[in-house]
């Protein structure tokens, strides 16, 4: 199948180039979250300590996925697959943990 140079050039420039400014902003956001993560370790949020720590980590992951990994500008199918991966992981974690949490954890070794 022959392609004219013109056709190849036109379809090649359909891809989205994220401006460097956005990358730098995302990096700044990641740095702020890093500082927050370490600072939050030494603060006391009552029962929410672990939730806050994980939420900050999830925020970092979301930034990296959306902008560094270009998910925000990707074809919908890639976004679906990425989302499916996260959902599988959540199913693994939540269902297994709900079992253990209902029993008070692992049976201690005697």
């Amino acid at each position: 199948m022959a392609h004219t140079d013109q056709q190849q050039e036109e379809s090649a420039h359909v891809h989205h180039v994220i401006p460097i400014r956005i990358y730098l902003l995302v990096f700044a956001g990641l740095m702020i979250l890093l500082v927050l993560t370490v600072a939050a370790t030494f603060a006391d949020f009552g029962g929410f300590d672990r939730v806050i720590t994980l939420a900050i980590a999830a925020a970092k992951a979301a930034l990296i996925m959306a902008y560094f990994m270009h998910l925000r500008y990707s074809q919908p199918l890639s976004i679906v697959f990425a989302g499916v991966g996260i959902i599988w992981l959540l199913i693994l974690l939540l269902i297994t943990l709900s079992d253990y949490l209902a029993r008070g954890g692992v049976v201690p070794a005697s």
Binding site: Y23, I64, M69
Partner: protein, 214 residues
């Protein structure tokens, strides 16, 4: 406009379709990696819930300064990786090579600091096995913590080494002018891999070093 290697495979109708398929293929691989690390995170979560005091005591033995530095270094390497992809997309070959090299350098520094951490843990008798030492009340649970710690960080380190090796190979090809705005899928895909390994560390760091520390 000069065409470097416009490698459109004959079974794709246009280069955009080829790029989308390459992108999807990489994401499919990455979600299998999510489940791979997810298994270790699951085991850690169950035992963290069951033995919070023991895991807290064990966590406090880890080096917070080195690991925070490593987190910073890895986030920087993700930035240089994203900038490398940007350079490839905009036909800036020298910038592409520069950012690939910077990413490799930062990744190597990360591994060096990790090795220093491991050595410190070895010196403190924190490697599970016959030489393991910990306060009596938490001996078994602390060994469990460190088994999971070395499994998670070891698996992560192996991923870094493989990523670094592929990056070196791609840097050599980029140096020879192999990539352009018409042909940069390989750079984009190693970028996706590298960002995934960064995300894995973004979760390893708080889970092992920060969760029960205080």
């Amino acid at each position: 406009m000069a065409h470097h290697d416009s490698v459109l495979a004959p079974y794709f109708s246009n280069i955009e379709q080829q790029r989308e398929v390459n992108n999807l293929g990489m994401w499919i691989f990455l979600i299998t990696e999510v489940m791979l690390f997810g298994g270790i995170f699951l085991a850690y979560s169950v035992y963290l819930y069951s033995y919070p005091e023991a895991f807290g005591a064990a966590s406090r033995e880890l080096n917070l300064y080195l690991s925070t530095a490593n987190t910073f270094i890895l986030l920087c390497s993700s930035l240089t990786m994203a900038l490398a992809v940007h350079a490839a997309q905009t036909d800036k070959q020298r910038a592409l090579v520069l950012f690939l090299v910077l990413t490799i350098v930062l990744g190597t520094i990360f591994l060096g600091i990790k090795a220093a951490e491991y050595y410190e843990e070895f010196q403190h008798n924190l490697i599970p096995g016959p030489l393991f030492q910990f306060e009596e009340a938490y001996l078994l649970q602390a060994q469990l913590f460190f088994s999971l710690y070395f499994a998670a960080t070891g698996l992560h380190g192996v991923h870094m080494i493989i990523g670094g090796a592929i990056l070196i190979y791609l840097t050599l090809k980029a140096w020879r002018g192999h990539y352009s705005s018409l042909n940069y899928d390989a750079i984009e895909n190693i970028g996706l891999y590298w960002h995934f390994v960064d995300i894995a560390w973004v979760f390893i760091f708080p889970l092992f070093y920060l969760m029960e520390r205080t």
